[in-house]
Symmetry: C2
Subunit: 392 residues, 2 copies
């Protein structure tokens, strides 16, 4: 594998294909913010605005501006989204709605904690790009609210009857692993440290289960036990793998080689667990006891699962030289580029059926925006570059 | 087509295959109520109890007892479920939870209006079978609560921001069409009449859209207009077709031949609209503007969609002699018996992929219980019998 070529491939795909797609098609010049419901060719097919995706696109462009090049159009794009979010995205007290009309009227109430986490990383990155105290304050105020909601993230919209069988979910601690690093320039070092240690502990010692061969489960009881219920049996390989590169980044930052080794091992375990031996690709959902699932989409192949896996494997290889990482990387790379990349139009497909055929033609929708694909292109580009530089 | 044979086929499938499956596998003799999460061979794979399915099974067995034969084991089965529901299913004021643990502790709060509607028809049918005033009172008290919730069925769990773009959904008026007839023995004739007229009007004049060629959409604005949003574009052919046999039943009861003709026409329109010309079967979800959908399961083939279609077509043929009904009936009959019936074990599969291959092995789960399959067997048996008797 020529890592110089690989770096160039990802750089080109990012800068000449994916980012231009979003710059050309997603900016709402009239009302502010972004259209994210984009057809295969980039045409807007719905104008609802989802806070997850508004914030993630702000983050993406601010991050490109901070880490790749000081291009004005990238900063302008990020600010366009941030101003829209600042004005319409919350209830006045940084309780972030889930979605808005094109004009910014609230559609869905602030029930979803990830609207808050993505707002935090968006304003966090943008505060770095602009040196704006206002943006930093929004990030910090939102972060405070997240911390206050950790115990019951859905608040009054929580349908679980409190006290019977309350499970805790993997998604929030996993996202906090990433969020901690995103806003470290805004945090008191003591709080940052505590947050990082907590996240690492929760992910590696609570949700990762040695008694199940080291896989990560999506839900455990509040006393950290496995639960033989639909939610307690659920495994989401993509989630687990994505969290492992967050952990690798944390481990590098904290200089903990043994944590890197552990994260690489879990990555491989999860890919072997989640790989569809019949049709290729990684399943969306699995049941750890092989029981029938509630998720009808369990056998589908999703864009984010595969590109997050590319990041984790390439980082794993870069950090440890693991042959398993490299072999799996080649396999997932081939699968992803063959099935998700659209050869006719820009950007990548999001949803394939089990056989690897696109199930929806969209390039962006309610959940797919300007985030996983470009972030993965960036991460793979930079990681491949590091590997190439070491080889010289 | 020999309708005497057809009647016998459905009768045998109901009484010798489907009903024994539930009697043998689903009754929880220890804690009361029913297990509904049953593997292909009937083995219990999860013990959570969902109020929809508890109530629907009570209804099914009470209905068999009332309409087929006074078998004690059927009545006992219905009472087993009803007593469990009475004791654990609600908060003390007939606010019906969504799900319970095996022992009856609440798991999911009473956010779902259909827990209430199915409780109503369960206790309504059982009050007929037992002449019990207590069961009748539960049905009526629950019915009162439903009426009070029509405007905002999800109450405090409603995530839609009130006032921006509120849509009304087809499911509740559709279910009320059926519910009205189920509890007519308990209702004041004036209230019953109003309810029936309202339902017919809402279904036929509001959700059925002549400007779209007479299809039924799942959501319209509160001022009865189409909405070009994800929910406003949604079409659920199975829902629409199921409602048409409720309307046919109402039309027979009210002696309105023109309403029968209209319902038959919509049935055919919806089947032609929803039929998968490539792989056969009826799609689960569609977008009326052919835009990408949020529902990742849109192309799957579900048991209830197909067996509800069998009922609507057979009733339509019985009531009007429509050749189109008969031709489509044959096609859907062949598809359903070929793909959903399990040749090795009792009961039918619930979830097929687009190609018609089972996606989940379960016979019962969170949504599939002792309801659509046996109800359809019963309805097809009785309707085929009527047709056969006319032919003599």
């Amino acid at each position: 594998m020529d890592f110089k070529d690989l770096a160039a491939l990802y750089k080109t795909e990012l800068l000449d294909n994916v980012i231009p797609f979003w710059l050309q098609n997603s900016i709402d010049k009239e009302c502010g913010g972004f259209f994210t419901c984009l057809e295969r060719d980039g045409k807007v097919f719905d104008t609802d605005k989802f806070i997850w995706l508004q914030a993630r696109q702000v983050w993406m462009f601010a991050s490109l501006y901070n880490n790749v090049e000081k291009r004005k159009e990238w900063l302008d794009c990020a600010i366009n989204g941030a101003e829209y979010l600042k004005k319409y995205g919350h209830d006045g007290s940084y309780n972030w709605y889930f979605s808005l009309t094109r004009e910014g009227k609230p559609l869905i109430e602030p029930y979803n904690i990830f609207s808050y986490t993505f707002a935090t990383i968006a304003f966090g990155q943008l505060s770095k790009a602009t040196n704006s105290k206002m943006y930093a304050d929004i990030a910090l105020a939102t972060f405070e609210i997240i911390l206050s909601k950790v115990e019951n993230p859905k608040g009054r919209w929580n349908k679980a009857y409190l006290g019977t069988c309350n499970l805790k979910n993997f998604a929030l601690p996993m996202i906090l692993c990433n969020l901690a690093q995103e806003i470290e320039h805004l945090l008191d070092p003591k709080i940052l440290n505590e947050l990082m240690e907590n996240c690492i502990h929760t992910v590696m010692e609570e949700f990762c289960r040695p008694e199940l061969g080291g896989i990560i489960v999506e839900n455990i009881t509040v006393s950290n036990e496995l639960s033989d219920t639909f939610d307690g049996r659920l495994v989401n390989p993509g989630h687990a793998i994505e969290s492992m590169w967050f952990i690798m980044d944390l481990a590098v930052r904290l200089n903990r080689p043994e944590l890197i080794q552990k994260a690489v091992k879990i990555t491989i375990t999860m890919i072997e667990y989640g790989w569809d031996k019949e049709h290729g690709g990684i399943y969306y959902f699995m049941d750890r006891l092989n029981k029938p699932m509630q998720q009808l989409e369990w056998d589908q192949k999703l864009w984010w699962v595969h590109v997050e896996t590319l990041i984790a494997l390439l980082k794993g290889y870069n950090l440890t030289g693991s042959k398993e990482c490299l072999e799996w990387y080649k396999k997932i790379h081939d699968y992803s580029w063959k099935h998700f990349k659209d050869e006719k139009y820009a950007e990548w497909y999001g949803y394939l059926n089990r056989q690897g055929v696109p199930l929806l033609s969209l390039k962006g929708g309610k959940w797919k925006g300007c985030f996983h694909i470009p972030r993965a292109m960036y991460q793979c580009w930079k990681t491949a570059e590091e590997i190439a530089n070491k080889e010289i």
